[in-house]
Symmetry: C2
């Protein structure tokens, strides 16, 4: 086995730079201890699942008169679900056809399919700084060169795109709404600018939008970049955050010119996504569940977020900064630059508090003084308790790192 | 989009030689017409699904007290299911640990993960001749050089392995039981020989075994190559044929040295397989369903096969040959060498009979006078009717192709 093992070692080492997230994953297995207050998981709160509706939908899907729910099905996905998705994303100016919709095994699979179809070794892949490690990890298997695009508290700085040779890039990957990890929502002007650059330079934009429905204001969501440049955008949607992630049902909306290729690689990857999962999703959403469920979700996460923001305000020492998200599940915290969040994590775990250190969110040249907090799964009381412990720890670190020459020894 | 589209075109063209199976797939969409007698689908009969048990299992899985059935879960798979699989495959000499088991989204996903971990461009991948196109298609994306190993009516000729430099190959791929398409079952002596060669040359064997349970004699199944050389074999199992394919639950049993790598690429591919699907499978099998269901399945397929064999005996002209399978779902038919089965298919479809032409089953240098018949989904009456039509067509082709110099014009 030596020869192939050697090759495998080499390949994994080369390709999977971002797999260092696996090391963190190992650490975070500790977060399964019941006494742990975990702000680490990027998972939705099970309290937010519409369980009764999901159970009803499962019963309907499995008790349909035929055995179809358990049989092989089309690679493209369950036709009624594709039609539903197409309708949801259609506007008068930009109709989406069911043929543009490809069901994927969660959004995660879309990253792999995109790698297969669009990324060659050394392809330039433009990403936010920071970006979502699940996407970086999956795309990195196709050995691209990641190019970070300047990003601020409102997300990608669209003008900065002009300076990274978009016309030579294989694709641009971004999350427009409540980005993981920064929580930023891209303003409409920037969306327009990115759409314009994509059309002008023939850049393919991968618009990954799992958190769209989790807008705290519950108001009209901003138009997607896809709706502005449908021939240049691959849109990724997911039922993981609005229904339940364990079903593993996501989708791509793919420009016509690329459809056939994506169906081919999807077929090679897993033939099709779980027939039953797709039918449960369809049975859940067809009657209009989301019209009542999404506002409930948004209000749930808004209150969770408010609890974390007031805990941060109450406890964090000076020199620590964070964003105030308008939706989603995450707060991105900047520590004083001399504190390494990975080291901090080890001490925090000893205090039964967990978070995700910031380094794996950077495609290259990681910064080490950031960390991501999720407010999704912990109760408000526990949030306050966990943030208080974390703040005390950061305070201790800050004092320990105060440089000696700052002390006025003469006084 | 031109630049990336160009790259995509080139890559698809280079990598996906076996994607010509997609063309056939297009043709076979015609088989969905209700009047079609289709011997084409490689799908199990829905009449064979244990529907009542699956519905009960679904209800139990979704009504468990927690929301866990709908939540994200471990990349490796659902722990109780992995333990069940490990027990099923353990023997006194060769225990299988749950940590060796990785749940996949159908066996199809295993091919993609194997490509990622073990196959580099130009890697030699040893395959049966003919082999399963789903595996060839998936592996071909990683640009190996396929090397066909001599195969006869009992499967791969194990001695022939010695002559294809197994010590230089990335892997050997085979189906030991009721192979798709030939129906061959590999004798125990050949399994031992292949295990021995694998151990001696450090070859990794991918033993793909979806049809193991469909042995018509219902007797003791032959020992797996995996049980003979567990450090050299990646074993692929599936619940698609014994329970239901639409759940998309398969599994790999992976040598310890490769486990971590496969978990990493699985995580990048789709995070994990459907939590609910895995729990439904476990709830189905935990109480011993398969002990009663598998004999029912075997007897169902045995009778279907018998119907097809007697129809072939009754109707086929001389010069047409086929195997007599001991299990599985397929009969592999050799036409007279001057008949192209792809051309035959077009005419057969006009008569509302469908099958799969043989060419896509060959990794290289395809032979065109073979075809695959599935006896899984058509009723015995319809089998007779369809085979009779097909035989009449082949007869007409044979007459048309009889060379002129064979006619004795002087008489």
């Amino acid at each position: 086995m030596a020869n192939t093992l050697f090759h495998a070692e080499r390949r994994i080492a080369q390709r999977a730079r971002s797999l260092n997230s696996s090391a963190i994953r190992e650490i975070l297995k500790l977060t399964e201890r019941p006494e742990m207050i975990s702000f680490a998981g990027g998972i939705p709160s099970p309290a937010s699942f519409p369980l009764a509706a999901l159970r009803d939908a499962s019963a309907r899907a499995t008790h349909a008169s035929s055995a179809d729910a358990f049989q092989y099905s089309a690679t493209e996905g369950y036709a009624p679900l594709r039609e539903w998705i197409a309708r949801e994303h259609s506007s008068r100016q930009h109709p989406v056809a069911p043929s543009n919709v490809l069901i994927t095994s969660g959004s995660q699979q879309a990253f792999d399919l995109i790698g297969k179809v669009l990324v060659d070794p050394q392809s330039a892949v433009l990403v936010e700084r920071p970006s979502y490690p699940g996407a970086l990890q999956s795309l990195s298997l196709y050995e691209p060169e990641f190019v970070s695009v300047q990003t601020d508290e409102h997300g990608m700085v669209s003008k900065a795109l002009e300076y990274v040779e978009p016309e030579r890039a294989a694709l641009l990957y971004l999350q427009p709404n409540f980005q993981n990890p920064t929580g930023a929502r891209l303003p409409i002007q920037r969306r327009r600018k990115i759409a314009e650059i994509a059309q002008r330079t023939r850049l393919i934009v991968v618009e990954d939008d799992p958190y769209a429905a989790l807008a705290f204001d519950g108001g009209q969501s901003l138009p997607t970049i896809h709706s502005m440049a449908p021939d240049n955008v691959i849109y990724l949607g997911s039922f993981s955050k609005v229904l339940a992630p364990g079903l593993r049902v996501g989708y791509m909306i793919v420009p016509g010119a690329l459809q056939k290729k994506f169906v081919q690689v999807k077929q090679a990857a897993d033939l099709h996504s779980s027939t039953l999962s797709q039918r449960i999703v369809y049975e859940s959403v067809r009657g209009g569940l989301l019209a009542t469920h999404v506002p409930r979700l948004a209000s749930f996460y808004r209150e969770q977020c408010a609890a974390m923001l007031s805990a941060l305000d109450a406890h964090m020492p000076e020199g620590v900064h964070w964003n105030v998200p308008e939706g989603g599940m995450f707060i991105w915290l900047a520590l004083p630059p001399d504190i390494d969040s990975a080291a901090l994590l080890e001490d925090a775990l000893a205090l039964n508090v967990a978070f995700v250190p910031g380094a794996p969110f950077f495609a290259r040249d990681p910064l080490h003084h950031f960390l991501r907090l999720s407010f999704a799964t912990v109760s408000p009381q526990q949030i306050d308790c966990g943030i208080e412990r974390l703040a005390a720890l950061i305070n201790a670190y800050s004092r320990a790192f105060t440089p000696v020459f700052d002390l006025d020894l003469d006084r």
